[in-house]
């Protein structure tokens, strides 16, 4: 039972967090008087210094990667290195797409990420609605089973999942990349918690008027759940975009590889070609970066809710 409790508090902590982050930007400064004003000044200086160093530390590797991606072979090996390549070799990006089917990797990744996101939203919101709003025998036991699975690391299910996929003859197909990821216990849990927070009065009125359960789900629950669905969507999308171990296992053909798997093999094939490697890596990061910059607040919420760092 303690698992249930910890996930429950995680979720609520996450929700409080999302709210807290917004509030923080407009926090009212306590009026400083006399000597406290100096102390405040010192504090702020230290804070900005720490954040400045931290930001530099976070960004420098990316800047170095972009810089390298625009250098010619000989420029890469110049000592001391120049941060701004002169001339900038934009052709590296084109060269990469000729060395490996980069466009194909990109399409594969996009197809998988988009399809999984849509399927996960549909199946999870259906199940979440049943768990949150309908009464039927076995419901609470099934829900506990869902919660229990959340605790188990993905590696434990890896081998049977691979066996099922190869038994179905799905190795090197989109189905192998998409189907196992399309049913999320986590997404069900997340949406159920959100649906529970919607006041039931509206639905009761709709029931009185003879609205079906599906009608309630479609016309009341879904329209009121925009933020929760968006949070799950960006999270599912990012997870799929960055997934590595599963695509590595179920793809053999080069044309079925996703970006992460493709880049990894490219790294092995062209170990010394750092300008090409960096150009490929830049191209793999740009799409997710754009999605992130547009939908930042949903990312922040989704990541906080899932406890997902980097592995």
């Amino acid at each position: 039972m303690s698992h249930v409790a910890s996930y429950d508090s995680t979720l609520r902590g996450g929700a409080a967090m999302a709210a807290g982050v917004e509030v923080g930007q407009q926090r009212i400064e306590i009026a400083g008087r006399g000597e406290r004003r100096t102390a405040r000044w010192v504090q702020l200086t230290i804070a900005y210094l720490a954040l400045g160093i931290g930001s530099l530390w976070a960004l420098l590797p990316f800047l170095w990667m972009i810089s390298t991606s625009l250098k010619s072979d000989s420029q890469v090996l110049v000592y001391p290195p120049a941060w701004i390549p002169n001339p900038a070799v934009w052709g590296n990006y084109e060269a990469v797409t000729k060395l490996v089917p980069f466009g194909r990797f990109l399409i594969n990744t996009a197809v998988v990420a988009v399809t999984v996101t849509i399927l996960e939203l549909i199946t999870s919101s259906f199940a979440a609605y049943a768990f949150a709003r309908l009464r039927f025998p076995g419901r609470d036991k099934l829900f506990l089973l869902y919660l229990g699975t959340l605790m188990i690391p993905g590696q434990v299910t890896l081998i049977p999942n691979f066996l099922v996929i190869s038994w179905l003859g799905w190795v090197d197909t989109y189905a192998a990349l998409i189907i196992p990821a399309a049913f999320s216990a986590f997404g069900t849990f997340l949406l159920r918690q959100f649906f529970l927070s919607i006041p039931p009065e509206l639905e009761q009125a709709a029931r009185m008027d003879g609205c079906s359960y599906f009608g309630i789900y479609r016309h009341i629950i879904l329209p009121l759940s925009g933020p929760a669905l968006a949070t799950l969507a960006v999270f599912a999308f990012m997870t799929q975009w960055n997934a590595f171990l599963w695509p590595l296992i179920v793809t053999n053909k080069e044309t079925m590889r996703t970006l992460t798997v493709g880049i990894r093999y490219f790294g092995d094939d062209a170990p010394g070609q750092f300008n090409y490697l960096m150009a490929g890596t830049v191209m793999s990061i740009i799409p997710i970066l754009i999605v992130f910059l547009i939908l930042q607040r949903y990312f922040v919420r989704g990541i906080a809710l899932t406890g997902m760092g980097g592995r």
Partner: protein, 313 residues
């Protein structure tokens, strides 16, 4: 807490004397709504957990018929596998290297951000870019940063007179290299959770303490630290669980090398299952990993009673 969860949902009330037609309709509808998710859930999540355990009792290479060998895989793993011990040690090294340092650094950044600085959204976005980037991309990037002759890191070290470090080529430096990269990648994530925790501490407590003449260090020690303890606990548990499962970062940066210096438990599962096709053995490793994660999380949960106090208790 479990009671809140249950109370929040409408209770399933069972009436004696069978289902009314309305109740029956609700049951059928309920299962229909569950159906698409639950099929996938059973096939790809819950049944495989049990299947993995069954497979771990087999000697199976996917070609010959599986042989039932009882607990032999576990016994061999725990008593007669030097590489597994090495892998276990590497994973522990990685966890101990990333978790405490990651927690401290991200807390420092969160404290700086909580000091009413301007541009919090910009800083947050910057710290988050490593978090949203794929581990594979990050590892590829750091492979170049760590390059002995032309990598940025050794060039920066050279400016302060430190000789080139053979990061990825040396058994001593490879694991620290993976650890530094992992801390870099997860900093923004932990920082965000700490920031939320800091912002949930009621500001009037700090005000009252200031009026009573508390210094900022005293306020940190006696207000921030105790009230942040639940958040710290959460970050520790999540970072611990994630660190034990490290794969992508190490696999792409070093491929487990040199000489198994960065070979970790999940990499061992991957190699046993998908390189050598020792399915039973790999399944046993997966269960041991699960048991370790479970035990460590349980220990943390027990220990928290000594240092984490929740407000509503």
């Amino acid at each position: 807490m479990a009671t809140t969860l249950k109370a929040a949902a409408r209770p399933v009330t069972r009436r004696s004397g069978g289902f009314s037609p309305m109740r029956r309709q609700e049951t059928i509808t309920g299962y229909l709504f569950l159906l698409p998710n639950i099929i996938g859930f059973l096939v790809f999540s819950s049944v495989p957990v049990l299947a993995t355990f069954t497979i771990s009792l087999l000697d199976w290479d996917l070609i010959r018929t599986p042989q039932f060998v009882g607990l032999d895989n576990y016994i061999k793993l725990l008593t007669d596998d030097a590489l597994f011990r090495k892998v276990l040690w590497n994973t522990a090294y990685y966890v101990l290297g990333t978790v405490p340092a990651g927690v401290v650094l991200s807390l420092l950044m969160a404290l700086a951000m909580n000091a009413n600085v301007r541009g919090i959204a910009v800083f947050r976005a910057i710290f988050f870019i490593p978090v949203i980037s794929a581990s594979v991309a990050v590892a590829m990037m750091w492979r170049w940063l760590y390059n002995t002759d032309y990598g940025l890191i050794n060039m920066i070290l050279a400016t302060v007179g430190i000789k080139a470090v053979p990061w990825l080529a040396s058994t001593a430096w490879a694991m620290p290299a993976v650890i530094i990269m992992a801390i870099w990648k997860t900093l923004g994530y932990n920082m965000l959770i700490f920031l939320a925790g800091l912002q949930s501490i009621p500001i009037h407590l700090h005000e009252a303490a200031s009026i009573d003449g508390a210094t900022s260090f005293q306020r940190f020690r006696y207000i921030t630290v105790p009230l942040l303890a639940p958040t710290t606990f959460f970050v520790l548990v999540i970072s611990g669980i994630n660190s034990f499962q490290v794969f992508d970062l190490a696999f792409v940066l070093t491929r487990g090398g040199p000489g198994d210096a960065t070979n970790t438990m999940v990499m061992y599962i991957y190699n046993q299952a998908f390189q050598f096709f020792h399915m039973g053995y790999a399944a046993a490793v997966a269960w041991v990993l699960f048991a370790i994660i479970f035990a460590v999380t349980l220990c943390q949960h027990q220990l928290q009673k000594r240092w984490v106090h929740y407000e509503h208790e």
